[in-house]
Amino acid sequence: MAEPGRYLYAIARGLDAAAVEGVPGLDGAPVETVEHRGLTALVSTVDLAEYGEEGLRRNLEDLAWLEKVARGHDTVIHAVAGAAATAPLRLATICLDDDGVRARLDEWHDALETALDRVQGRAEWAVKAYARAGSADQPPAEAADDQDTSGKGAGLAYLQRKKSQAHQQVQSQERALEVAERVHDSLAARCVASRRLAPQDPRLTGHEGVMTLNGAYLVEDAEGDVFAAAVQELAEAYPDAHLTVAGPWPPYSFATLDPS
């Protein structure tokens, strides 16, 4: 390896090192721990040619590389989150060496303790809502059978049909957004913390409709089933929203160190 660096996966508190024994890190390197002031950083050695500033600039635009790293990163997050309070880090947090890791742990110490307090004993649930699939294939505004499309007023009638169609579309979009708000508000009231993430591109999700809600909810471990049942109820109340729910997941969205 030309120049090694340390890739940081997550920070944990109260972690038994045995929990990460045998857990594979990126590119076949073993996952190791760096402890400092009661917190444990999960790290592995990576090649800075690939993960340094230059390498990242190239690789971050490569979906195949992103997939490899995201999956590898997530394997470690899952292994640790199952064993102790864990603050998952974002992709590609790199330090030159373990002294650098400790310096980070120092710098982030208070923010990390706060984040770990927030996520301890809790898990993330993801709920999504969609508007109905687009009307791309809507048939042309067809006249009612009894309308004479060649007679007087046929042009006006056509315009009226089009106007009514456009109006219906706008209304249906507004309704979909309103439903998404209600679903989010209802779920946010039932959990410790919530975040709305940006809607996902339909080409990535494979779902035809526009995504109206991409919500992340922090739920007490013991309340998981109750939360899922609440989503089920909302799905029945709003069938057009095509709700999906997934969880429990590690608390990715709630352990960030950003001011937001």
Partner: protein, 97 residues
């Protein structure tokens, strides 16, 4: 999910056999865009209320025939409106619906 190493470039491949159909698709897409824009604008003008009844009727008939013509053209190559939608990435699809 991993469709190639770059982030989903799209290629409109044409070859000797399919070139006619593919270029046709491209042309129809542009026409369809203009047609939709014209319709939206016409509806706006009608709403503004400064057109005579004859003008409104003329607009409506013209647009109706345009739509019929588009349907006929699409039908010739078995294309749907969805087929005509070129993806502009972050700008979304070309055709608004």
């Amino acid at each position: 999910m991993t469709e190639g190493h770059r982030l989903l470039p799209q290629r409109l491949e044409t070859d000797a056999e399919s070139v006619e159909r593919d270029l046709f698709k491209l042309v129809l897409t542009v026409i369809e865009l203009v047609r939709q824009l014209m319709e939206k604008q016409a509806l706006r003008r009608v709403d503004e209320g400064d057109l005579t009844d004859e003008q409104v009727e003329g607009l409506g008939l013209g647009l109706m025939h345009l739509e019929e013509a588009m349907e006929e053209l699409k039908g010739r190559y078995g294309l749907t409106t969805a087929d005509l939608n070129i993806d502009l990435g972050p700008l979304g699809p070309l055709l608004s619906e």
